[in-house]
C-alpha cells in the first residue's frame, strides 16, 4: 500500500500579502516594457543588435526556463514510470511548475520573435535539419501534454462542485457529467501522455544543447563541444529534483505548511549521483578536447566557467553527499539553490557569455527593459503558482488518505 498518505487539497490562504503586492508591481513593470517592445520593435527595449541577435530572453527565459522546468519530467519518471509512490506528494507541485514554466518559455519565445504573429509557422513549415525546429515542435507538443496532465487536477477540483451563476446554473448537471466523463477518459489514457512527456523532455532538453553548436567558432571553446546535447540533458536531469526541493521548501514556508522533509531528504540523496555523472562528462570532455588551457587565461569566460563548475556543481555535490545536509532543511535548501544557480549560469554562459561574433566591437549586457521583462515573467509565474495552489488540489497535506495515488498506470495490470 502507500507509504505515505497523499491528500492534495487547495491550501486555504489569502492571496494578497505584502510579498504578493511586490510581485504584482514587478509584473506591471514588465508589461510596460513589453508594450513598448510590441509598439516600437525589439531594438527599442533591448540591447540586441546585428552582432548579438540573442540575449537573456533566449538565454534565461527560454534555455534556463526549460532546464529549470525539468522537475516535471524527472518526478513523472520517478513517480509514475518507476512507480515510486512514496514520492507522489511532490509530483503535482512539480507538474504545476513545469506547466507554468513551459507556458512562460512559450511567452519568452513570443516576445523575442521579430514576427511573433507567425509563431505557428513551424507547425507546417518543417526544417528537419534545424535544432531550433526540433526544440520548437517538442516544446509545443510537450506544453500540450503538460496541460493534459494537469486536467485531472481541474476535474478533481470541480466534480460535484460545479456551481455556475444565474441562468447558467441549469447547465450545472451537464457540466458535471462532462467533467466526470473527461476524468474517466483521462484516467485510462494518462499513461500515454506521461510517457510521451518524458520522451519529449529528453528530446528537447538535449536539442537545446545542439542549438549553439552551429555557431561553431563564435562560441568559446570552454563551452563549444559536440557533446553539448548530452551535457544539457544530464544537467537538466540533475536540476529536476533540486527544483522540486527548492520550491517545496519555499512554498511550505510561504504557505505556512509543514515541510515534507522525509520525502525531500530522499530526493536530495538522488541528486549527487546525477550531478556527479554530469560533472564526469563535463570534465572528461575538457580533458579530451584539452580546453583546460583556456582556464589559465584570466578573462570573463574563464571566471564564469570556474564559478559555474565550482559553485554550481562541485560544492553542492560535496554537500549532498553528507547525510547531515540531507536532513537539515536550510542546508538542503542551500545545496539545491546552488545546483539551480549552477544550471542557470550554465545556460547563460552557453547562450550569452560564450558567444562572441567575429566582428563584435563590444560585449552584450542586457538592458533595463530585458531584465525587467525577465524578472516580471518570473513574478507572474510565482503569482500564478500561488493562485493554483490556493484554488486547486496541488499541495498534499499530511493526514487524510485520498486513495488516488495509483491512478496512472499502464493498462492491463490490475
Amino acid at each position: 500500500m502507500n507509504h505515505e498518505d497523499i491528500n492534495p487539497v487547495p491550501v486555504k490562504r489569502k492571496f494578497f500579502t505584502p510579498g504578493v503586492i511586490v510581485l504584482c508591481v514587478l509584473a506591471l513593470n514588465a508589461l510596460v516594457f513589453l508594450a513598448i517592445r510590441f509598439f516600437y520593435g525589439i531594438g527599442t527595449v533591448t540591447n540586441l543588435d546585428n552582432q548579438y541577435p540573442w540575449g537573456i530572453w533566449i538565454g534565461i527565459d527560454v534555455a534556463a526556463g526549460v532546464a529549470l522546468a525539468a522537475g516535471g519530467f524527472t518526478t513523472a519518471a520517478l513517480g509514475h514510470v518507476m512507480h515510486r509512490e512514496e514520492y507522489a506528494a511532490v509530483i503535482r507541485p512539480a507538474l504545476l511548475t513545469a506547466m507554468l514554466g513551459y507556458t512562460f518559455v512559450a511567452m519568452g519565445v513570443l516576445v523575442d520573435l521579430g514576427r511573433w504573429y507567425y509563431i505557428y509557422h513551424p507547425i507546417y513549415m518543417w526544417n528537419g535539419n534545424s535544432a531550433l525546429f526540433e526544440v520548437g515542435i517538442c516544446v509545443m507538443i510537450y506544453l500540450t501534454v503538460l496541460y493534459i496532465e494537469f486536467l485531472p487536477i481541474v476535474t478533481e477540483r470541480f466534480i460535484g462542485k460545479v456551481n455556475l451563476p444565474g441562468i447558467l446554473s441549469k447547465l450545472n448537471k451537464l457540466a458535471d457529467k462532462i467533467l466526470r466523463v473527461l476524468d474517466r477518459g483521462l484516467a485510462k489514457t494518462m499513461f500515454i501522455f506521461i510517457i510521451a512527456g518524458v520522451v519529449l523532455s529528453t528530446l528537447h532538453q538535449s536539442s537545446l544543447g545542439t542549438l549553439m553548436i552551429i555557431a561553431g567558432p563564435k562560441m568559446h571553446p570552454l563551452w563549444q563541444t559536440p557533446i553539448l546535447p548530452l551535457l544539457f540533458l544530464l544537467s537538466a536531469i540533475a536540476v529536476g529534483f533540486p527544483m522540486v526541493i527548492f520550491e517545496s521548501l519555499i512554498a511550505s514556508r510561504s504557505l505556512k505548511l509543514k515541510s515534507e522533509m522525509h520525502i525531500l531528504s530522499k530526493l536530495g540523496g538522488m541528486i549527487a549521483p546525477l550531478l556527479g555523472l554530469y560533472l564526469a562528462f563535463k570534465i572528461g570532455d575538457m580533458v579530451i578536447r584539452e580546453t583546460f588551457v583556456y582556464l589559465t587565461e584570466f578573462n570573463t569566460a574563464s571566471i564564469m566557467f570556474t564559478i559555474e563548475i565550482l559553485f554550481g556543481v562541485v560544492i553542492p555535490l560535496r554537500m549532498l553527499l553528507s547525510p547531515k545536509v540531507l536532513k537539515s532543511p536550510s542546508l538542503l535548501f542551500t545545496a539545491a539553490a546552488l545546483v539551480i544557480a549552477g544550471v542557470l549560469l550554465n545556460r547563460i554562459n552557453n547562450f550569452i557569455v560564450a558567444y562572441t561574433p567575429p566582428y563584435a566591437d563590444y560585449s552584450y549586457f542586457p538592458s533595463i527593459g530585458e531584465i525587467s521583462v525577465t524578472i516580471g515573467f518570473v513574478a507572474i509565474l510565482v503569482l500564478l503558482y500561488r493562485f493554483f495552489v490556493i484554488n486547486f488540489p496541488v499541495v498534499s497535506v499530511p493526514g487524510k488518505h485520498s486513495g488516488k495515488s495509483a491512478k496512472y498506470t499502464v493498462k492491463g495490470v490490475k
Binding site: G43, T44, L48, N50, H121, T210, A215, P358
Partner: protein, 302 residues
Amino acid sequence: MSGKSRRDFLKSSALIGAGITGLSSNSAKAAPENILSPDRMGVLVDTTVCIGCRNCEWACKEAHDIPAGDLESYENREIMKNDRRPDHTALTVINEYSPGKHSNLPVNVKVQCMHCDHPACVSACIVGAFSKQDNGSVIWDTDMCIGCRYCMVACPFQIPTFEYHKALQPDITKCDFCFERTKEGKLPACVDICPVEALTYGPRTELVLIARERIRRNPERYIGHIFGEYEVGGTSWMYLASKDYNELGFPQLGNDPAPGVSESIQHGIFAYFVPPASLYALLGGMMWLSKRRKELEQEEKI
C-alpha cells in the same frame, strides 16, 4: 548521412507534417532546398584590382529599393576610416585596409553574403525560409520567416541582419546575389557597375580556375590562397588578395561546412524517429514492470 538520404528524410517528414496538421501538401512548404548545381554561379573578387569607388554600394541599393542618394556622394572616402558591416541600409559595403605587397595603395575589400555551398542559415532556419538556389544564390523568403534570428547566430560570416526598430514585419536582410536580376539574365548590380572589373561573375568551377591562373601568372601580386575555395565547405563568392586574409577583416574559418556537426547530431537523435520511439517503448515497459512488481509485493503481503 549522405545528402540524398537527408533530402529524402526531409521530404518524408514534410509529408508527415502535412498529414498531421491536416493541410494539403501544397500549403505545407517542403523543407529547404540545398541544390548544389554543378553550374552554380559565383563571383571572384580581386581585391588587388578594386579601387574602393563604392559604386557597387550605390548600385546594390538601387537594385534593392534601398534609398541610395547621389552616386557622387560615394566619392567621400572619410566613411572608410572605420570598418563597416552590411545591414538593412546597405547589403554590401567596402572597407579599406593598409597596402599589401602589390602596390602602395590601400586594399579595398567588398563585404556581402558569401553564398556558402553548405549555408549555416539554410540549415539553421526553424521554418526553412532560407534556400540555396540552383544558380548559387542563398535567398530568404519573407512569407515564411518568423524573425527568430537563429540564422544570425549560425552564420560564420555574421552576415544576416535584422530590422530591430520595426514593430511589424521586420526583415532579415542580406545580399541575395541579385536573384531577381540574374533570373532575367542580367548581371548582379555590383558586378554590372564595377568600373575596373574587380568582380568577375561566372560558373564557380571556372572562377576557381581563373583565380588559380592569376595566382600562377602573378605570384608576386597575390598570396597563394583563394578565400572561399574551401572555407566552410566552399562559398560562391571567392576572393583574391595581396596579403593575409586575417589582416583584411576575414574571419578565420576551417574547411568543414558550418552546419556539419549539428546536422549529424540532429539526424542521429532522430534517425527515422527510431530512437524516440524506442525510448517510448522502453519507458512503457518500465512502467508496466514496476507496476506489476508493486502488485506482486502487495499480494505477498496479503
